[in-house]
Amino acid sequence: MAAIWAVGEVAEGRPTRLTLELATLARQLADASGSTAAVVLVGHDVTTAAAEVATYGPVVLAVATPDDDRPAAARTAALLADLLEERSPDVVLIGASSDGKDIAGALVGLTDLPILVNASSVSWADGGPRVEMSTFGGRLVTQSAFVGTRGIVLVRPASVTAEAAATSGAVETVEVDAGARLGAVRVTGHTEQAGSAVPIEEARIIVGGGRGVGSPEGFAIIEDLADALGGAVGATRAVVDAGWIGYGQQIGQTGKIVKPALYVACGISGAIQHKVGVQTAGTIVAINRDPDAPIAEFADLLVVGDLFEVVPRLAAAVRARKAASG
């Protein structure tokens, strides 16, 4: 019987949202193809996370590894390469996070498996995964498949909605000897930096600020609106370059590509380099003084006005609406 695997990630003891999405997708593909689904979780203590992932349906393969001074992605990739050789799953779903990309790339090098990247949707057709990719900044969707039967699929965040299953999967503890086949990299330090609590790739709602926000202090009203909506703060490259906000919040060509249900663009003109990062958002609301800004071409609602007047009132109105609807 074919086997669909997903590689999960654990942050602070909990599975990431992307991991729960992959667990759901693995289950759906297994159902569609009459296969088994499993999620691999790697870490020094993944017990709690494994129990949570199992409620999404797949069997969880919990691989306990002591923390060492290798980067997490390298540790996971070396171990997965051994596990893939031993158990030969047909499809391996990996989330398109930074670590996920590093793991997937290393596996391609170590195992020679084919890979399809940038998947915005995965279905089952003709005996294998059918992968949709949103490309050219959302202007085109392409479909691809593997020539053979096996391969790795790198799946973007928000490609599926995570849904718990009627029946939980079992948790299996797995022991693997990870060979040291990758060139040695040592992690010698870590520095904490203030930033958004929610990674923008995982946020359902994002409020973005551009040059029109005017100053680092101007972002206070953007942050307040994000707080009112329960979302994260994003930004354009211009304001990241200006040092008003961290690179982790940058949306666009050389930043992150996001797919929130709602994007509120404040003082953002909508240059192509920004547009490609957010075009597949569910709904786009723009607040801009210039009715002819390029953002008008890809927003659903454009409010022509001064963001310093509109945004604080919008935050208050959102809070009032939420309070009224209890």
Partner: protein, 256 residues
């Protein structure tokens, strides 16, 4: 110190098209945005510590313009892998070709930009590193190189990790490495006479049937144009009314 910078010539963002053969049309190309940041860092490191920067690109003849610009910025030489049989290569095929090319070059560090704007994969560099058995350091916001090794700051969700490895090593970098310079007029003049080596698949000892469309491990099935947004509803109203209009709009779409 010899730093090789991997450079991909990509369609200019916003102008990408599929050709009649359903492949990305490689018309006018530019260097992938993220590649220019690592090139800039490579130039700064060799200017400060001595050494040379070489470029390596796999792509069609039209990739030469992107290579020329990078040479004008200050790179010493370029290696261009170009062969008609490469069209339609899958990621694994691309990795095979780059690995073969890199085995012909002695280098201390290989610099690679984060994701390309056309492929959005971000997996070629770690695959190349794994195949060559070299350390792979990624998402660098800073790179420090010494004669014997490299150290980077790797962006993490909560800050950054310091990572170290011995040379030779592969380093993937981000926009935070700093704004790329513009080529000077002198640089543009000098670039015309700089050494550009073109390698065919035969030069690399690769069977053309193992790469390109013939050897691809993935296949293209089709494409469609998703429905575009039909144009924004425009609200021009005093701030209080505008805020109320947005809230009503969000409520109808069940977003609040």
């Amino acid at each position: 110190m010899h730093i090789v910078v991997l450079l991909k010539a990509v369609p200019i963002v916003g102008t990408e098209r599929l050709g009649p053969d359903q492949r990305v049309q490689r018309g006018q190309l530019e260097a992938n945005g993220n590649d220019e940041y690592v090139l800039e860092k490579a130039l700064k490191l060799t200017e400060a510590n001595g050494g040379e920067v070489s470029l390596l690109s796999m792509g069609p003849a039209s990739a030469i313009d992107a290579l020329r610009k990078a040479l004008a910025m200050g790179a010493t030489r370029a290696y261009h892998v170009q062969d008609e049989a490469l069209a339609g290569s899958c990621i694994r095929g691309t990795v095979d070709v780059l690995v073969a090319a890199l085995r012909k070059i002695e280098f201390d560090l290989l610099f690679v930009g984060a994701d390309t704007s056309d492929g959005l994969g971000g997996v070629v560099a770690p695959a190349v590193a794994a195949r060559l058995g070299l350390p792979y350091l990624s998402y660098a916001s800073e790179i420090r190189a010494s004669g014997t090794g490299v150290s980077i700051d790797r962006l993490s969700p909560t800050g950054f990790d310091v990572q170290e490895a011995a040379s030779p090593a592969v380093v993937m970098g981000t926009q935070l490495l700093g704004e790329p310079r513009y080529p000077s007029l002198r640089g543009i003049m000098q670039a015309r006479t700089k050494e550009t080596t073109t390698w065919s698949l035969a030069d690399l000892g690769i069977d053309p049937a193992s790469v390109g469309e013939a050897g691809a491990t993935t296949r293209f099935i089709g494409s469609e144009t998703p429905p575009q947004r039909s144009g924004a509803t425009v609200v021009k109203a005093p701030p209080d009314e505008a805020a109320a209009a947005i809230v009503d709009f969000l409520a109808t779409r069940r977003l609040i």
